[in-house]
């Protein structure tokens, strides 16, 4: 099926988002001249295939469920924020907070990502081919972050159950994050995520695993507690 074409030069973001929501499940759409506009393809709750021909602004693909988005370029803040399910692929670099609070799905960045990648991640997977900045995965609760390159300061500060895999170097770990031995189950998860992401530069057996030391994390819902 030929994709429906939208042009940000002739339509507003709201017009494009409304038209995308009206497309039947399984449709494809190509969006021309995004030119850094914010809030593109936000809140789509069906399986649409959307390609952006150029760089996008903040919050692309936020709050979506079942979407398949490709950005041919750079993306601004918080791509895939609160993603429930589906995939988002960015061919360039990503700005801050990629995948913030995402509950599910897969976010792939073929370049580098800036600070706060995966902040408060609640599920799903984020795969970054290159380097990432500081404060990644702060208070991440569930899900996986895989980094093909190097990582900045305070990685995984106050982690819960989320797990981080890093192929390169880590400048520093945040409070309560620690290195752990990599297991067979980790290797198979990394292999699967690399396959989904199309990454061939990561040796799954030569990756650091970072998880919570659980010294700060001591919620116990079964215990009688006063909040």
């Amino acid at each position: 099926m030929t994709p429906t074409v939208f042009d940000c030069e002739t339509s507003t973001v709201r017009e494009i988002n409304v038209a995308l929501r009206a497309l039947p499940s399984g449709s494809s759409a190509t969006i021309l001249n995004p030119k850094g506009r914010h809030n593109l393809a936000v809140g789509m709750i069906k399986d649409l295939n959307i390609t952006f021909e150029g760089s996008v602004g903040h919050y692309v693909g936020g709050l979506c469920d079942g979407i398949n988005i490709k950005v041919n370029g750079f993306c601004g803040w918080a791509a895939g924020e609160n993603l429930m399910n589906g995939t988002i692929r960015v061919t360039g670099n990503a700005s801050e907070r990629v995948g913030a609070t995402a509950h599910g799905g897969t976010i792939v960045v073929e370049g580098d990502a800036s600070t706060r990648a995966g902040i408060s991640l609640k599920g799903g997977s984020i795969a970054i081919a290159g380097d990432i900045g500081d404060f990644a995965m702060f208070m991440a609760q569930a899900g996986i972050l895989l980094v093909g390159g190097n990582v900045g300061e305070a990685l995984g500060d106050s982690l819960y159950e989320a797990v981080i895999y890093v192929a390169g170097t880590v400048k520093s770990l945040g409070a309560d994050a620690r290195y752990e031995d990599i297991t067979e189950s980790d290797v198979s998860k990394i292999v699967a995520l690399c396959e989904t992401a199309g990454f061939t530069h990561i040796d799954p057996n030569n990756v650091k695993r970072i998880a919570s030391a659980k010294q700060l994390y001591n919620f116990n819902s079964l215990k009688e507690q006063k909040y």
Partner: protein, 287 residues
């Protein structure tokens, strides 16, 4: 909020387009800063022994021709903007005619005013300007009143200009320290403190990159700073980096802005390396 933009041309063939490129960039940042706008244009470098004075008067009918004659300077008008060129040291003579000097330098000219960015740019005929570097700002006032003097860029020393997105928390104590060292402040604005701190450090032998390192240690707050001198163009971020910054590096130019959409119309932007700088980083490009 506030929006900042900057364009540092590496390819002289783009210089005739500087004005139209920075006009498009700054217009995209209008909704980040609707209160006032300003721009520094670097170009038309004057001969040795001369200095350009960008001037402003509250009186729209001010007689610039007779002021230029009295001070022995050449007068160039860019829309409502005024640039006098003469020997160095004319500041007090010019200011004695109830005129504000908003920049001095061999290359820099600064134009700023309150109002919507697009109308400010039109008022100073920025679109037609030729030059090698531009630094602009759209302001959403937080720290001091909406006045032309409180608008950015702040140019406190020859050819230095600073634009800022964010705010400093300890600027009053830094201001007192700089006043004790002889710096004279013209506004209540926090960005003027940053500009004077950089200017003071550079007049004591540091280059822009080292002066920015001093600033990062001295000033507390959240900020993305874009600064330029006659030959340098620099971006600095604080340690938390909650204020936006996007940099594009291309063979023909280096560009910076608060958001990518300000960079989207630059020539061949798809071939540029576009990235967000990391916390505490200082990036400096030198012509």
């Amino acid at each position: 909020m506030c929006g900042i933009i900057g364009l540092h041309l590496l390819d002289s063939e783009l210089e005739p387009q500087l004005g139209s490129l920075v006009t498009a960039m700054l217009t995209q940042m209008s909704d980040r800063g609707p209160d006032s706008a300003g721009i520094a244009i670097y170009g038309d470098v004057v001969d040795q022994g001369l200095l350009k004075y960008s001037c402003r008067s509250d009186d729209r009918n001010f007689d610039w021709i007779s002021l230029a004659a009295k001070c022995g300077t050449r007068l160039v008008r860019h829309g409502e903007g005024v640039v006098l060129t003469g020997v160095p040291g004319l500041q007090s003579q010019i200011e004695s005619h109830d005129v504000s000097i908003i920049s001095t330098g061999v290359a820099v000219e600064v134009f700023k005013d309150v109002g919507a960015p697009i109308s400010v740019l039109e008022r100073f005929d920025i679109e037609s300007r030729v030059g090698y570097q531009g630094v602009g700002h759209t302001r959403l006032a937080t720290e001091s009143a909406i006045t032309t003097d409180g608008s950015h860029p702040f140019s406190t020393h020859d050819d230095l200009c600073v634009v800022h997105n964010g705010s400093f928390s300890n600027y009053f104590s830094v201001k007192r320290d700089l006043e004790a060292l002889g710096e004279k402040f013209l506004t209540e604005n926090d960005t003027e403190v940053a500009a004077r701190l950089l200017g003071y450090e550079m007049s004591h032998g540091r280059d822009l990159g080292d002066a920015l390192k001093v600033l990062q240690k001295t000033l507390d707050g959240f900020y993305t700073l874009l600064c330029a001198t006659q030959n340098e163009f620099a971006v600095a971020r604080d340690s938390v980096s909650c204020k936006p910054a996007v940099i594009a590096v291309h063979d023909r130019y280096v560009a910076m802005s608060s958001e990518y959409r300000a960079l989207a119309e630059l020539p061949d932007i798809d071939k540029a390396k576009v990235f967000e700088p990391a916390p505490n980083e200082i990036h400096v490009w030198t012509r």
